[in-house]
């Protein structure tokens, strides 16, 4: 038998002025199961709470209904009060008779009548409330960072700093990412390598950090605090533990005409290679697409010259399984493919390059040793045209709809560096808008214009035509001068839009995290939870979440680390008990619920059932992980059999409310 207590709050005159609280208490006192019904001036005050607590103890209540302000205001207050009096906090229901009754109605009779109905609905619901206990689930004290660019490195360093083990998975043979390819950074113009490589070394030397380079995540199972991740270590045909990174093999390898991707294909590397001098880990990797030994079985030079015997042509891909409490995604970005923009002649003319290619052309460790030369004839360019917004800010059919954010600043940087080093070179920048929000950013851009005399022209380039004399005709409109220009340039640099790495989408599927239509990971809340994904325990770091420059990336990386640390320091996490649960006897295992769950909280197990005829049947049934479920209830409606129900908002509870209201 239910023993329910009803407590009607006056809220001073807030409620009592338009609702006859005594009448409400009186009416609700006659509801079935209600054995005590009281009203009080301020129910949320200490004495009000004591009234509730005493009634719970005195009448041994099995449920409490408080008719007061919005549950968003004081539900927790009364739940805590109930708990302290020994009643399960989830046996408390609130009827909102202030915001949704007394404050919006003027007529006392009808407001009182409505308040009674709302109270009856709450009483009807509380009849069906079940005591709920928040579950706990342990936290594995280890984090995984996917991607070893500056974002991943920073996140890993910060997590390691807090004393937790952290693994970095990087698909390239070395960590470092895009920043390793960059020459100088804006707006300070310090050397990217000089600030990045110490961090790479720090990461490799940190006792808490394990770097899995040349590896990929191939499977993710589990949930917040307890992920099981399978990492595929691709065969590099070199024993990492033996290789000293001396580089002798790379010098002796006869297959030395492989386009060097680190230098954007402007020079060559050998089939066995170390991407760049400061690579971490500094270990050679054999490229199976080019190695003669692997392809034809004839060669073996590297194995002969290696003094430590690190070369192993028989090496195979290896799968490692590891448990993690938190996962940070830092998969970064790539410039888009420019094939569909014929008008810029990128595929026709070697002297039309992307900005990232220009970084390598200007880099001291690049193909020309830091001297800027035209790729076609290795001559010094005297006129360079920069084109902004190539593929950014486009209609969906023409490119990326978003602003790539970093192009305005790096173009100003390039223009400035070129003017500084080669004052005889004319530099033109065609822009639509110059966007420089950031500390010292606009000053930087103004310096390019005022101090370095870079010609900024408002207008988009319409057509780039390579001419037979080696010059490049750039046709554009100068919108402010209202004229069409032709510039005979020596080089054209395209600020290509950036997009998330191609590995991001399959990864998002494995992680059950959400992505937007551009394949950027979606944050749990755009304002308040910008570094967390909607899936608990998965955090976002760097450009995988949206275009970012280096300082923003590092800031977000540290923020993601802080969030991950906040999770890892806990021994266990308390779960919201208002979660979905499936009645195994009714579940069909049809997978509808799994499809609508935004958190990947539902899995299926094959379970044995004893049938009435004493046989045993194995049936596929859904099982909800209460640590992952957030309690939205999408699955409860997707479930055709009604096996899926939600604690705290069960089908029968809501129907009881409907019935009470519609009586």
């Amino acid at each position: 038998m239910q023993r329910i207590g009803v407590f009607v709050c006056h809220c001073g005159t807030n409620i009592a002025a338009t609702v006859d609280v005594k009448a409400v208490a009186e009416a609700l006192g006659h509801e079935p199961g209600v054995i005590v019904s009281q009203d009080y001036q301020y129910m949320c005050s200490e004495s009000g709470q004591n009234l509730v607590k005493n009634a719970i103890k005195e009448h041994n209540l099995t449920g409490v209904v408080v008719c007061s302000c919005s549950p968003r205001m004081h539900e927790n207050t009364f739940r805590k009060a109930a708990a302290s009096a020994g009643l399960n906090p989830y046996l408390v229901e609130i009827a909102n008779i202030r915001e949704q009754c007394s404050w919006i109605h003027k007529d006392i009779a009808s407001a009182t009548e409505k308040a009674i109905i709302l109270g009856k609905a709450a009483v009807a619901k509380v009849h069906l409330n079940a005591p709920l206990t928040a579950g706990e689930s342990p936290v594995v004290k280890r984090a995984l960072v996917i991607g070893g660019g500056i974002a991943g490195i920073q996140t890993a360093l910060d997590i390691a700093e807090a004393g937790f083990d952290v693994d970095i998975v990087e698909k390239q043979p070395t960590i470092g990412g895009k920043m390793a390819q960059i020459d100088k950074t804006f707006p300070t113009l310090d050397c990217a390598a000089c600030i990045l490589t110490p961090k790479m070394v720090e990461a490799s030397q940190n006792e808490h950090i394990t770097i899995h380079s040349y590896s990929e995540v191939s499977d993710v199972k589990g949930f917040v605090g307890n992920f099981t991740v399978t990492i595929k270590k691709k065969a590099r045909f070199v024993d990492e533990t033996k290789c000293t990174g001396c580089g002798l093999c790379t010098e002796k390898c006869p297959m030395n005409k492989v386009p060097n991707e680190f230098n954007m294909g402007f020079d060559n590397r050998s089939a066995v290679y170390i991407p760049f001098a400061q690579a971490v880990p500094k270990v050679a990797t054999i490229d199976p697409n080019y190695c003669m030994m692997l392809k034809t079985g004839k060669c073996g030079v590297c194995s002969k010259v290696c003094s430590v015997g690190a070369i192993d042509y028989k090496q195979e891909d290896k799968l490692i399984e590891q448990k993690y409490g938190a996962i940070v995604v830092a998969t970064g970005f790539n410039p888009i493919n420019l094939d569909k923009y014929d008008e810029f002649a990128y595929n026709q003319c070697p002297d039309v390059v992307t900005s990232l290619e220009l970084e390598r052309l200007m880099n001291a460790a690049g193909p020309n040793g830091g001297t800027l030369l035209r790729p076609s004839d290795k001559t010094h360019p005297h006129k360079i045209v920069f084109v902004q917004c190539v593929g950014s800010r486009c209609d969906d059919s023409k490119g990326k709809p978003y602003c790539s954010k970093i192009c305005c600043m790096y173009t100003a940087k390039h223009a400035m560096l070129i003017r500084e080093k080669y004052p005889d070179t004319e530099v033109y920048v065609f822009y639509i808008d110059v966007r420089t929000p950031g500390k010292n950013f606009d000053e930087f851009y103004r310096r390019a214009v005022e101090q370095y005399n870079v010609h900024y022209i408002k207008g988009m380039v319409g057509k780039v035509t390579p001419r037979s004399d080696g010059k490049i005709d750039v046709q554009a409109s100068d919108l402010l001068a209202n004229e069409q220009l032709h510039i005979d340039a020596d080089m054209v640099v395209l600020a290509a839009a950036i997009e998330p790495d191609k590995t991001a989408r399959p990864l998002a599927t494995m992680l059950t995290t959400q992505m937007d239509t551009n394949d950027f990971f979606t944050e749990a809340h755009p304002k308040l939870r910008p570094v967390e994904s909607a899936t608990a325990g998965i955090f976002l770091s760097g450009a995988c979440q949206g275009p970012k420059d280096i300082p923003e990336t590092v800031a977000q990386a540290s923020a993601a680390a802080a969030k991950a640390i906040g999770l890892l320091v806990k021994n266990s996490i308390t779960c919201n008990p208002c979660v979905a649960h499936s009645d195994e006897l009714m579940c069909n295992g049809c997978s509808s619920c799994e499809k609508v769950c935004p958190y990947g909280a539902i899995t299926y197990i094959d379970k044995e059932f004893k049938m009435p005829d004493r046989t045993v049947a194995i049936r596929r049934v859904a099982s909800v992980n209460p640590a992952v479920c957030q309690g939205c209830g999408a699955c409860t409606v997707a479930c055709p059999s009604g096996a899926m129900d939600l604690n705290g908002f069960s089908n029968s509870q809501i129907i009881a409310e409907v019935d009470a209201i519609c009586k």
Partner: protein
Amino acid sequence: MNKNLKEQVLRSCGVNVLKCMRCGKCSGTCPSYDEMEYHPHQFVYMVERGDIETLMNSKSIYKCLTCFACVDRCPRNVEPAKVVEAVRLAAIRQQGNNHMNPNQIPEMLDEDMPQQAIVTAFRKYIK
């Protein structure tokens, strides 16, 4: 500003001029640029402002080659050539009573007249 005219032009070209981000790529790409008093990006902007009579009175509307380079290259699919065509059409429609009246058709019909000629006459007759 002539609101009806603007509406007519927008309806006949089917272009959403508000999509324009003023990059000027259309004008940067236009082969007739130097022949035109008003350039493709100005067409889009002036139609948006409703300043259509100026365009109609300009020779620019006859200088567009309808090569569609601007349509092809516009990053935001605004399709400026269609706007130019629509203004040109608006100008042609207003050139006196140069439309054939449907009532005039029967007396002009003869066996040999191709169907297409009749349809075309609605647009360009007399001119």
